[in-house]
Symmetry: C2
Subunit: 340 residues, 2 copies
């Protein structure tokens, strides 16, 4: 079979490992931002961020070679950030070639000024008309690249497309649990970055006070999970999705390390939010959770009654911390201790 992977970032590159191991024809296409990555890989060097070499069977393609990437492809894997989805899909559509099922590795929400926030899978479906499979669950790219044990969640309304995708990608060490709850998986994948900021505050407090705060950390975690489950329910997904790999699993790997946790840590240490963000952004980091907190908040802000903003005290607290400069620990502690 033939698989086009669009985007040569960490995850796009990593996912070629199980696909190539299965013996498929994999094309890794780099965007204009990925030119240096494709060049490095073509020169036999390691991927500049992943620091791993790529399977020699993978065909490496530059930004102007998208037609070669798509030629007779049975599956397109979209592995660009949420902000680049429209640009890349426009390039795909401009080829005039038929679009096979699309598997999305993007974890975030689609947003444009003056348009309602939506999940990326819906946007891909609108633009391409193709069946869409979205991937959630805990999957650090470097471990997928090394064939280390990973269980992802593949979600699609289209059972046939989901079967095709999981058959193509699954190996003994890269497993796919399938579900029809695409909305739930996408919301969990996006919102866990926001809630990881909240859990990170406990780590920052430990550093600031020189005292362990494991009880706080372990309390923030289930409150986050329960709130994400209510959010998913409110927006048309299944709470059970959040209690599995896509929620509990992905949040646990996200709070173990990473930039969203780091922002929370800086806030917990008492750094003002503007300073913390400026410091992180200056190192080239994108803090997806910062945007997710804003977009998640927007999605429930105007709902009256059940499912409305009052059912999301942690998200409200996060919004006040990130956008109104409220003190991190006190605001979060009010939000969770108000539920006792």
């Amino acid at each position: 079979m033939r698989v086009a992977v669009l985007g040569a970032g960490d995850m796009g590159t990593a996912i070629t490992a199980p696909i190539a191991a299965n013996g498929h024809d994999v094309r890794l296409w780099g965007t204009t931002h990925d030119e240096h990555i494709i060049a490095a890989l073509q020169a036999g060097q390691v991927h500049p961020r992943l620091q791993h070499p790529i399977d020699p069977a993978v065909n490496l393609l530059h930004a102007d070679q998208i037609e070669q990437a798509l030629a007779e492809a049975d599956l397109v894997v979209v592995a660009v950030s949420s902000g680049a989805i429209d640009i890349v899909l426009d390039l795909v559509l401009a080829t005039g070639m038929p679009v096979p099922p699309v598997l999305s590795l993007a974890k975030g929400l689609w947003h444009q000024p003056h348009e309602p926030v939506q999940v990326i899978g819906d946007r891909i479906q609108q633009m391409t008309g193709a069946p869409v499979i979205v991937v959630g669950g805990p999957a650090k790219a470097n471990e997928v690249a090394l064939h280390l044990p990973t269980v992802s969640v593949f979600a699609s309304d289209d059972a046939g497309a989901n079967q095709l995708a999981s058959d193509l990608l699954q190996t003994p060490m890269y497993r796919a649990q399938t579900t029809t709850d695409r909305i739930g998986v996408e919301l969990a994948a996006a919102m866990k970055n926001a809630y990881a900021i909240a859990v990170g505050v406990a780590t920052g407090l430990e550093a600031r006070l020189g005292l362990p705060h494991q009880n706080l950390k372990a309390a923030l975690f289930p409150f986050a999970i329960e709130e994400m489950a209510r959010l998913v329910h409110t927006l048309g997904g299944h709470p059970a999705t959040v209690f599995g790999l896509a929620g509990v699993g992905d949040l646990s790997v996200t709070v173990a390390a990473g930039r969203n946790r780091l922002l929370g840590e800086m806030l917990g240490r008492g750094q003002p939010v503007a300073d913390a963000l400026a410091a992180l952004v200056s190192t080239g980091m994108t803090i997806e959770g910062h945007a997710a907190a804003q977009h998640g908040y927007q999605m429930v802000r105007d709902i009256e009654g059940p499912g409305g903003i009052d059912e999301f005290p942690m998200l409200q607290a996060l919004h006040r911390i990130l956008f109104d400069g409220a003190p991190a620990f006190e605001t979060l502690w009010d939000a969770i201790s108000g539920q006792t």
Copy 2:
């Protein structure tokens, strides 16, 4: 109000901090095993394990002073290990004094040869006839002793007793979330120790192979949660309890450190189970999760059809690893990848 805390271990001693801070008359009674602790505290020294001094308002009582502990008590807090419950309650009953509501901090299952395994709250209720409140959720004793932010779950069939207990114990930093699902809270509190062994295996594998296994760790966690929820459902509790503080919260603090995680780590490194257990037991550690895996397994082993042992592949895997010497990673990976 008057509160008798029976057992001067870490948690019994720690819980006197919020109660004393609320201005109640607290008596901390030590068992015959706690004589050195009571003596140290009476001499103004720190608690030998907690390493914190005790609030000077706490009345310290020796093993032969149980009547003084119980005199006109409004609440009895039982803070001994699950194996010592019968002994301590026999001492209480032998005084002939009326037994007020009993709050249990014991996390484990009651078991005796040739008798069915049961939750400790049921045993306390049988023996005393008093209303019982059990406590779950993530609460490391040293943090409770220092008034660091903690949210526990108080569970009771008796709403009045639960209200009394939470009024007595809650402070601005020690919060109690109340529920009627006593069975769910008790099972989660006991079984999280068993499942923490499984999650620990990923950490051991990291050490053995010198490679990160964060994806595996973050996959084992939600599979454990989902299985604990099914177990609670099967045995008469509410799955939602497991998705909150008592399950997700307590498991997350348990896998972050501690002896149950450590046993899993040793198994993940490839140590035979007998050697790992012998090494831990020789340092005086009790591995509650080892017994919990056995007792949890016993509780579902004989159920046919829905709720039967086939719905608990991780518990089956743990049982094979701990009691049949099956290889840790391979057995667990089969159990979870078989669900994809």
